[in-house]
Symmetry: C2
Subunit: 329 residues, 2 copies
């Protein structure tokens, strides 16, 4: 039985941590809910208990075994304090992901990396996790030379505020009112925004670089060639991805489909004759990554196209972190 | 001064034909509006005249110089009658596009192909037109070896009914009511549907094959390697596309950007420092194809990524057809 802290307990990912810990019967002795001062004192009911949210401080982690950080600026401020108190930190922010001293783990891909942690284990970017789960069986089967990915990312990637902004804009539109944008740089209702996070080198966004560099780190494959275009779409909480893969070795579509069908964390939803394919509407609130539209890419010798959808808050964030915590036990 | 017929005058593309002919001061003697029996008798006001919609029959085309077919099943039924009556047909359906006897024309790419028509000129698929306009300057500059494209297609691609379905679903959602799907196979509000048109060879959809085969025909480049994934998104009327291009010859991003900046029909909207990039919200009701997020693809030697948006009803359909008519004059 462990003592668990959730940092950022009142946000979209924090709330999902509570649900997932309960669903998976995670063996918990004490559950400590931490958040910013603004949320301190709030009561949250969990498994028949009323838990009071406390303000996160450097002293918040005494006696804690595992601290789940939901993400955001709290990570850089308090993660080291948690480690000093003896906790293992599983961090959903981007702060430590590319640190060579910190393992970056998707349990279906590189569970062995939890073993060498020095107090912090990083949870990858949401789009990266969803792609990595779908790529892993292909990587094991045929190797991966190059990936061209275009994402269709839900507003939940911007947290509770992102979800509320889409709701507010759509309701305003339904009443014939003007739309205002606060969380996203432009209207997201009935629109697409091809910019997630800040612009960096080569006019790529940070989100696009995350998909490249984090995937290479998770697979221990620095020469896996990846190029990404990341786009926000007016969908609530599942991310979708159009993934083009060039493999190292020639395999058939049937072999790819079989490998995906046997893979942990993957549901193959691919039946054109019955109009079945992954959709964000159906993959929301699920832990698995849905893979479909699996087909040979006739434009190269060893290419395949996939269409993937996975819940951004669950497998893209909270579920993956709780799975890492389970590996630690 | 020409006599012009519009077949399918009451649909989304038909109505746009009326707007565009007026905007461009197309030299018209008589404008004849044709539609199904259901719409016959309806009055449409255009340029100060009240025009009565007539039912399309095999005798509808007497005296007509150019017949603009908005698309749908009317094309296969009446196009040959129009040609027999002496009209040139510009057809927005997919019926004749791959017919070797029929030119398939994007005026910015292959205007010379109108010269060899035998009565019918085909207007390409909407996603294909938008991609072709963006690819043309790159093709001329550096050649194109391979294209990997993922689309983000508006509901207007399913006509007026598609637009109404998204409106109806979103308004029902805003009132807390159940959503029903009639035009699209599943809910499109807050969802993505990775299947447009029917499934065909290799588990590709017809829409995906259109993007491959029509593009090769327009560019007279049967060996241009293209793979496509086409996806419906909850956006009203502009299609967007994430395009990855591998060129034949090595050129710089600056050269690509310069070529696009000088190209007919293209607006380069690409300024990361000012958060500028194409979005469907801004490219709707415009004739040009917006191109941005232009960047080197570091995963291959001669690769580039682009993000493109263009109005599906205008450049993707009606504007392109009227431009073909202008070439004929």
């Amino acid at each position: 039985m462990s003592n668990i802290a959730i940092v950022g307990a009142t946000g979209a990912v924090g709330q999902e941590f509570l649900k997932i810990l309960a669903e998976r019967n995670f063996p918990i002795n004490e559950l400590r809910l931490l958040a910013t001062k603004r949320s301190a004192g709030k009561e949250i009911s969990w498994q028949g208990q009323n838990l009071e949210v406390q303000e996160t401080t450097h002293e918040s982690f005494k006696g804690i075994d595992i601290a789940l950080f939901a993400g955001g600026s709290g990570s850089t401020e308090y993660a080291h304090s948690a480690v000093k108190s003896g906790a293992v930190v599983i961090d959903n922010s981007s702060a430590f992901r590319l640190d060579p001293e910190v393992p970056l783990v998707v349990p279906e891909v590189n569970p062995e990396d939890v073993l060498w942690h020095k107090g912090i284990i990083a949870n990858p970017n949401c789009s990266t996790i969803i792609m990595a789960v779908a790529l892993k069986p292909i990587y094991d089967l045929a190797g991966i030379r190059r990936v061209v990915v275009s994402t269709y990312q839900a507003v939940s990637g911007a947290g509770r505020e992102g979800i509320e902004e889409l709701e507010t804009q759509v309701k305003a539109w339904s009443r014939g009112e003007e739309l205002t944008a606060n969380v996203f740089p432009y209207q997201i209702a009935f629109n697409l925004i091809p910019r997630i996070d800040v612009f960096q080198d080569g006019d790529y966004t940070k989100e696009e670089w995350k998909m490249v560099l984090e995937t290479q780190k998770i697979f221990h494959a620095p020469s896996m060639a990846i190029t990404a275009t990341t786009v926000r779409v007016p969908v609530f909480r599942s991310h979708s991805e159009s993934i083009n893969v060039e493999t190292e070795r020639l395999v058939s579509v049937a072999e790819i489909r079989e490998a995906l069908g046997k893979a942990a964390g993957v549901i193959v939803d691919d039946d054109p004759s019955n109009d079945r394919y992954p959709m964000p509407w159906l993959s929301s609130d699920k832990d698995e990554v849905y893979v479909g539209r699996i087909r040979k890419d006739f434009s190269i010798v060893q290419g395949f196209n996939l269409w993937v959808a996975g819940d951004q808050i669950r497998k893209g964030a909270a579920t993956n972190a709780v799975q890492i915590a389970e590996l630690l036990l």
